[in-house]
Subunit: 233 residues, 2 copies
């Protein structure tokens, strides 16, 4: 009986649905927005969250409702963290890492190997590399990658600062940890040609299968690189 | 030659790696945190974002760096939206939808069918249902679901307000759109038993295969419900 009533409802909804132009149903463009249904403040919160990378409308709505359900202090804490981050953080003048000090903690750390520099595209990459805990040298973020199609050339990157550090002497090896993409690879090649004449050893982080990944899902380029980079066991 | 040097680096890194206890590498607990590498303000931002649902450490770090890279005004806009949302939004006293007005836009809309109420668990569900554009009745958010294991009984939900609306008369049908979960189903059954004696028609939204889904990936319960709920073509 319960089920019978479900069927009836479904049929009823089906009929209603068929009267709506399929275009608007498919793309949902005609669908209601957060500000119409739940007020302008919620709508503005959704729009604000959507400015963050990887946050689409659906995630932004979920986050907005979460903020709404939080204690006032906790929500204000997020707002305060944003303002504090923007007011207090700056780029390290040596390596472009993010810091609140004059010079970042890694550049100040005397225990780290000053003869080894790892070049990354973005300051955020430094955090990822630090998490491995195996690299004990220093860093240099060049703030992007060479991308001729986007009009980004070497002169738009912080390569000058890197070359100054290398020319100042004392550097034995540079590890290039730009992204495993066409842009990152182009940048790696460019840097390699620039640095090698200084008599400094230049290496590139390895390509291969991601740990924990399934070879079946790897693309053929990655598998090719994994084969080429094979090591004796 | 390029490749040869890559191989050497990989081998070198491999050696370094083998000296690190595998425990710390596997779980990454010994890995550096954002506040150590990129300053306390960034660390606090990461912690703040992690309080949001579905945002783990990695996503929070990505978001924190995105905020850092934003123009000041845009970042401040997010902070302002949080404060404004918390200060200006409240629950509609009739249906518990989120609103900035005395009574929410849906309850105020005279063009909507006042004889039809759709019951949902959370105010956020109202937005999802509104996006379909096919429901023209009104809503009632009961602010949760019955969950005896979590100590949440009917008395902890906003069911009284719903019953008041139903007892006031003029309601012909109640559609129960609680979640398709054990809690949601328990709540639906409870509400159905409460409402039917009032002579009001009660229906439950349909179970079945999600649109665009692949039957191969559906769980057997869903497929069973989809079979039971089949409709003549």
């Amino acid at each position: 009986m319960e089920r019978g009533s479900q069927n009836r409802t479904a049929a009823k909804e089906g009929e209603t649905t068929s009267r709506i132009p399929s275009q608007s149903r498919k793309h949902g463009k005609a669908g209601a927005q957060a500000s119409e249904v739940s007020g302008k403040a919620l709508g503005r919160m959704v729009e604000a969250f959507m400015r963050l990378p990887g946050i689409g409308r659906k995630s932004a709505e979920r986050l907005a409702f979460a903020v709404l359900g939080m204690p006032w202090d906790e929500a204000a804490g997020i707002a305060q963290a944003i303002i504090s981050l923007k007011n207090n953080s700056r780029y390290c003048p040596i390596c472009n890492n993010i810091t609140e000090e004059e010079i970042c903690g890694i550049c100040r750390d005397e225990k780290r190997d000053a003869s080894l520099i790892c070049v990354v595209e973005e300051p955020s990459n430094i955090l990822i590399l630090e998490k491995t805990g195996i690299f004990r040298g220093r860093y240099h973020a060049i703030m992007g990658a060479i991308a001729p199609l986007d009009g980004i050339g070497p002169e738009d990157l912080k390569i000058d600062g890197l070359m100054e550090r290398l020319n100042a002497g004392g550097i034995k090896e540079v590890i290039i940890a730009t992204n495993p993409t066409v842009k990152g690879e182009t940048t790696a090649l460019y840097l390699s040609k620039l640095i090698k004449p200084l008599g400094i050893s230049v290496s590139r982080i390895a390509y291969g299968l991601p740990v924990g990944g399934d070879i079946e899902y790897a693309d053929e380029n990655t598998v090719q690189r994994a084969l080429e980079g094979r090591r004796e066991m």
